[in-house]
């Protein structure tokens, strides 16, 4: 008889902060520069170089801690984590082990069985490593230190998650909070947010934790779900076979949908952490924390409330719009431009999200300008185009941020409102379709739809559907 197993999951999430400069030097963090151009003696580990802490990094770290209900350590320090690897120019990483900046917080996620708290063990600041580029031609590796010294916070959760759904919910919540704070753009695919999954299994009902494995740097939500499923299955099967689970780091290959143990580096995992003598501690005052609390931007719950009160949106719509900061921003700007919040909401929630799913991007992928969406809404309101036409125009706005006014003019999409012209076309349609006419008159309402469709086709979809319906009905009832 097979036993019931429970999966225990904890996450270590690394987030690249959105400061302009690196954590310990004045080099730019801007993405995409040529290799080794955003570098200086500090972030390349030159002899005699010294680190100096970027205040903005500390403030972002504290802001994230405050927003995740953490306690802020009033006295916090940096420690050196010593290990040799080429992406690490000093062969030690400046991190925080003994006195991290935040600890003991939580976020709330929605699960099938209600709200659940996922504990945050600690949050600390550290510097990112450089990039290793594998050179296929020469079987060597090339090192680029542009990313070395980019500021990171590491958010370490308690092992409170039990399913991959909970993991995704937790990550989405964290991402939303951090995006709302403006502390990072949190893009998994671009590496500004990275999740390491620690997973173990144990017999349901037992207290003792199983041996856990770590899976690093899985860079999409889908892959994370697969990885969790795969590892849960692998560990459970081992235990059921009477084997043990080895504590190790495993690499998840989403193409093969399997993981394997990473080759152990010829390295003891003995990091010899000790306080960095080059960096004085940070002392956080109550006033500073209060100031940061005050400066906290409007977060998701507040915004959701406001959307319902100010724009009279239903709660469900407000929830969707505020689930992503970028989406909320587009909504608010569009509403401000056109003065039609409910319209703006509708377009974004229905057509907008549909196109996102179709193009496999999340709401962050909406790259059009609110000004253009606003113009579209005005065109509809003014009767210049009908809703059917508007849908295809919206698709142009979504895909290439087309200016709707220009597009409508270029493609001659204006609704025709000439009643006489419309009556003529309808009379022709009725004459061409006597069967449908008699069907309608004998009670078959469906025939109306056919006739409307025929009329719209004849009009090249430029007719206003309401007018078509009205006039058709008038003509049909004339007999």
């Amino acid at each position: 008889m097979s036993k019931e197993y429970e999966t225990v999951i904890g996450l270590e999430v690394h987030v690249e902060l959105a400061s302009r400069t690196k954590i310990f030097c004045g080099c730019s963090t801007a993405f995409g520069a040529a290799p080794n151009t955003h570098v200086c003696p500090v972030c390349t580990g030159m002899p005699g170089s010294l680190p100096v802490l970027n205040k903005k990094v500390l403030e972002y770290a504290m802001a994230v801690g405050i927003a995740t209900n953490c306690r802020i350590n009033r006295y916090s320090r940096f420690d050196r984590k010593n290990y040799f690897y080429p992406d690490n120019p000093q062969n030690y990483q400046i991190s925080q082990l003994y006195l991290p900046i935040c600890h003991d917080g939580f976020v709330e996620i929605d699960t099938a069985s209600g709200k659940k708290r996922i504990g945050i063990h600690e949050i600390h600041m550290e510097e990112d490593a450089g990039k290793l580029i594998h050179d296929e031609w020469e079987d060597c590796t090339l090192v680029d230190y542009n990313r070395s010294g980019v500021p990171l916070i590491e958010i370490v959760s308690e092992p409170d998650m039990r399913t991959s759904d909970e993991v995704i919910a937790y990550l989405e919540k964290l991402r939303m909070i951090i995006q709302y704070l403006g502390a990072s753009d949190c893009k998994l695919q671009e590496g500004s947010m990275r999740a390491d999954v620690n997973l173990s299994v144990r017999e349901a009902g037992t207290e003792k934790m199983g041996t856990r494995t770590e899976m690093k740097n899985i860079n999409s939500f889908k892959a994370i779900m697969h990885a969790i499923e795969g590892e849960r299955k692998r560990q459970t099967e081992r235990l059921e076979d009477g084997l043990t689970v080895t504590q190790e780091t495993r690499r998840w290959d989403d193409n093969k949908e399997s993981s394997k143990a990473m080759r152990s580096k010829e390295d003891a995992q003995d990091y010899r952490y000790f306080p960095d003598p080059d960096l004085p501690p940070v002392l956080i005052s109550d006033e500073w924390i209060a100031k940061l609390k005050d400066a906290q931007p409007e977060m998701q719950e507040e915004k959701m409330e406001r959307y319902q009160k100010e724009f009279l949106l239903p709660a469900s719509d407000a929830a969707i719009l505020t689930s992503n900061k970028h989406l909320a921003d587009i909504f608010e700007e569009t509403a401000a431009f056109c003065g039609e919040p409910r319209e703006a909401a509708n377009w974004l929630i229905t057509e907008g999200m549909r196109l996102c799913r179709e193009t496999e991007v999340d709401a962050d992928g909406m790259r059009f300008s609110p000004a253009n969406l606003s113009k579209l809404i005005k065109l509809i309101a003014g009767g210049t185009i009908n809703r059917t036409t508007a849908k295809s125009v919206f698709e142009e706005i979504f895909r290439r941020d087309a200016d709707p006014e220009k597009y409508v003019a270029e493609h001659d999409l204006k609704t025709v409102n000439d009643e006489d012209g419309l009556k003529k076309v309808i009379t022709e349609i009725l004459n061409e379709n006597p069967q449908s006419v008699s069907d309608y008159r004998s009670g078959k309402q469906k025939a109306m739809g056919f006739l409307v469709g025929q009329t719209m086709r004849a009009m090249g979809k430029k007719a206003d559907p309401q007018s078509v319906n009205r006039i058709l009905k008038e003509e049909l009832e004339k007999a």
Partner: protein, 489 residues
């Protein structure tokens, strides 16, 4: 008097008045170096052409008034663990044999902005690890007073260069006595300022919580003048402190009422009796001039060295990890794979003493030993600091020897590293507590080798120790060695 025998202050005045030209001064020191450095080997790098060019440039700027510092135009040497842009900086190690920094240390920039002509880089113990300059990968420096003897270390090259008149003054660095001990062995004056006084930016780190750059010269007046130039609150160094400067202003011959304490627990059987006598005689001189002298027990004396070596080596093991053959420095020619690259480059590039300290440092930080060794050492450091605090509640200045003996013979020390470490007994606790320490020549032993006295002050108490040193030096002025005397013997 020959140019090389002038003090830096005197030379500065004569250059300012036009009596001596900048180029003339630089060439005088370079010519002297040509004569004596074959024996002394104080320098590792001299770029004569650059020196001449710079001298001319400085002369022009003095004429135009752009350089008006009291030491403008005065030629100086820089210890080879202090980065100088465009000039090879090796830390006397094979692993940096051809390293040419593209940036200068803050202290060097400040010297250059004051019109200094930098003559070259001086020899040292490899990565500042040693007390005799014998661990240099490029051969030892010899003591100008007796070339069979060491100059001390790790700033042996800088001290020997000053002593043999190969530069008007020099920069050294001090982590556990590396300015004060060689200064006393070479009969010159050297000061390690309060921690944080001189920026460490560009000083290639050994023990980050202990390192300081400091001047070495013929006189206290010279040291104070150089300290005025190189001290600053540097935003590039997070451990740089904001404090009062103006060291030259504190020079005064008046020591009436100055309270001087002598640690009785320093005068034990490890101390050479001739050194003990020279030091006590020197303190008497100050007593004659009106200072109040009293003996006291400092406490924790024997624990300073284990605490120091634990902390310094731990920090060093981490600071030296960056030397991996990838970004700069020596890279092994034959290796298969990354880990061999690291191991071979480092093992081939580092000398024995450096490897020894890196290993000990890695060990005391390793899992299982961190609490027993490293954390314990930090607690002992706290106790030592408290002991000094207690001393400075009663005294303005603490007077002590700078080393337990005069300069040993070359080749005597390296066979017994422990014995060599123990010779730091009077200097390391000053670094542990971050205090300023000034070494001033005060006598000679029966072999004719110099003895130095050390004046130790409270944190930011340079003014008091400079005053004590200045007043003493009025009664015991600078003496130069005469290399020819050795030949005459």
């Amino acid at each position: 008097m020959e140019i090389c025998d002038l003090t830096a202050a005197e030379l500065g005045r004569k250059i300012k008045s036009g009596e001596i030209g900048v180029r003339e001064a630089a060439e005088a020191f370079l010519d002297r170096t040509d004569k004596t450095d074959k024996t002394v080997h104080a320098y590792l790098t001299i770029d004569r052409k650059s020196v001449e060019k710079r001298a001319d440039e400085v002369q022009e700027k003095i004429r135009s008034g752009e350089y008006d510092s009291p030491l403008a135009g005065v030629p100086a040497a820089v210890k080879d663990n202090i980065c100088t842009r465009g000039l090879k900086t090796t830390c006397a190690s094979r692993i940096l044999e051809n390293f040419v920094p593209t940036y200068s240390a803050e202290a060097v920039s400040r010297l250059e902005n004051a019109g200094t002509v930098i003559l070259g880089k001086t020899n040292m113990d490899e990565f500042a690890m040693g007390s005799t300059t014998e661990t240099s990968a490029f051969g030892p420096t010899r003591n100008p007073w007796d070339t069979d003897h060491v100059p001390g270390g790790s700033s042996g090259g800088s001290c020997a260069a000053v002593s043999s008149g190969e530069c008007a003054y020099a920069l050294g660095s001090d982590t556990g006595g590396s300015i004060r001990e060689p200064s006393s062995y070479c009969g010159v004056t050297g000061i390690k300022p309060t921690y944080g006084t001189v920026s460490r930016y560009g000083l290639i780190a050994y023990g980050s919580s202990l390192d300081q750059i400091g001047p070495i010269a013929k006189t206290v007046e010279d040291c104070a003048a150089v300290l005025d130039i190189i001290s600053s609150h540097d935003p590039k160094d997070s451990t740089s402190t904001e404090r009062s400067y103006g060291f030259s202003k504190s020079l005064s011959d008046d020591v009436r009422g100055l309270k001087i304490g002598i640690p009785g627990d320093y005068f034990t059987e490890g101390l050479d009796p001739e050194v003990a006598k020279a030091v006590t005689d020197a303190v008497d001189v100050l007593k004659q001039k009106g200072a109040d002298v009293e003996k006291f027990d400092l406490g924790y004396v024997k624990y300073a060295i284990p605490a120091y070596y634990t902390i310094a080596d731990a920090e060093a093991s981490s600071n030296l990890e960056r030397f991996d053959g990838i970004k700069y420095g020596y890279r092994t020619k034959d290796c298969e794979g990354l880990h061999q690259l690291y191991k071979k480059s480092r093992s081939e590039g580092f000398g024995e003493e450096v490897k020894r300290r890196i290993m000990l440092g890695s060990f005391v930080l390793s899992s299982g030993y961190y609490d027993a060794y490293y954390l314990k050492a930090l607690k002992v450091k706290a106790l030592i600091r408290k002991a000094w605090d207690r001393a400075f509640e009663k005294y303005d200045v603490v007077a002590a020897p700078a080393a337990p003996s005069t300069a040993p013979k070359i080749g005597e020390s390296l066979s017994d590293p422990m014995k060599m470490y123990l010779s730091d007994i009077y200097t390391v606790s000053v670094n542990l507590a971050g205090l300023p320490g000034l070494a001033v020549p005060c006598g000679q032993d029966s072999k004719g080798l110099p003895v130095g006295i050390q004046f130790i002050g409270n944190c930011f108490g340079e003014d008091k120790i400079l005053r004590a040193g200045y007043a003493f030096q009025k009664e015991y002025p600078y003496r130069a060695p005469h290399l020819t005397e050795k030949e005459a013997r």
